[in-house]
Symmetry: C2
Subunit: 232 residues, 2 copies
């Protein structure tokens, strides 16, 4: 699912910084003599602090090397690209951002569904299961309302908290979820069920790591509940 | 920004159905002998009714030809893929959905911003400027709340209605917007401003067609206003 433009830049790179979610197959597209540096970001436990990654990217670019910072999915969607962009700009290092296929799109395609559907999900919400402050109850659930499909990224550890929070704010217990694990990788799995079984499904399937949870609250159920936004 | 997988499928196609937003450059990647059929969808005025497109795709596949339905961006995000998927399934025609780079991601990359940013936009909302019932006031604005970035697709004709609706529900008039027009095409333009000038900017720039409007309401302004979800 790499774009042609991403392949072109990979092949020009002198040094590539990549993390845990990047496939070996992708790295093989780079030049043989390109330096490959694993910066080891793991959900919830960065082997490399973000500041160190930022500093290293800038330092390599200032040596005159062509640097690629390779991320899985789209770098602008829960990829912490903002911090690396800011570091490069502060150092006057010119950058180009290559957009990618974000996980929600890849997951929906494999599940055979359209993320937006007229009269069902007129709005798509991309949220994270990991609270900004590491809280157990993600603030991101608040936008799951009638007529939305919500994609929760990095959400498997928080599946129980998401289920509870959604039920507590009035999402019907029988709205459907789709759980997409390791999309486009060996071991890819697509599981579906209803909201009240979300945590149980994640636990029973032993899902960890790279998964997206899609929750769909169709528009035509809106009469069942009138949720009010919690003050953010 | 086409993916390697999309290129592979294009090159296998016997017939390709494409619409207005697809570049000639992309069509040239297909086999020379592949049939190319323009199904002429134009915002607000489909030359071809969706039902006719569905029927034709199915009929060609049932002749044993390899059919590609080529769309710009990601087919699952405001691409009406759901109707074509349903038509194929109803006819027992096997399909594969190839995800793509959705417009919000492409626009943000060109504008040099990350769609999600910790403490600024923890949630990304993909909405359409065209109401489900063609209404002047898009329902999609209701999820623009503190801590969100909202991408309005197909929104230039509705820029005035979006501006008014956002202001009416308490979005501060000086939150920033980014207007990305014809991204990755000749004539690409990125314009920025504040919400109260959105309609005026779209009008003054003579923007039409393929544009995405990003509106960012940072989390740390939440004290200024406590919006309540309108019942959907």
């Amino acid at each position: 699912l790499l774009t042609l433009r991403a392949v072109a830049r990979l092949q020009e790179a002198d040094v590539i910084f990549y993390d845990r979610l990047v496939d070996d197959e992708v790295l093989e597209l780079a030049r043989r003599d390109a330096e490959r540096v694993f910066v080891g970001k793991v959900v919830g436990a960065s082997a490399w602090p973000q500041e160190r990654i930022n500093a290293l990217i800038v330092a390599e670019a200032q040596k005159g090397r062509r640097v690629v910072r390779l991320k899985s999915g789209d770098p602008g969607v829960f990829g912490r690209a903002g911090e690396e962009i800011a570091a490069a700009e502060a150092a006057n290092v010119p950058i180009e951002i290559i957009p990618g296929v974000t996980s929600a799109c890849a997951a929906a395609a494999r599940a055979g569904i359209s993320l937006t559907e007229r009269g069902v999900s007129d709005t798509l919400v991309l949220a994270t299961g990991t609270g900004a402050h590491g809280g157990a109850l993600p603030e991101s659930v608040r936008l799951t309302t009638p007529g939305t499909r919500t994609a929760f990224y990095m959400a498997t550890r928080q599946a129980g908290a998401i289920e509870k929070a959604l039920l507590a704010q009035g999402v019907p217990e029988d709205v459907e979820f789709t759980l997409a694990c390791d999309v486009s990788k060996p071991g890819e799995r697509i599981l579906t069920g209803v909201l009240k079984d979300l945590e149980q499904t994640v636990t029973a399937a032993g899902v960890r790591g790279c998964a997206v949870i899609l929750v769909t609250w169709p528009q035509d159920r809106s009469a069942r509940s009138t949720p009010v936004l919690r003050s953010a």
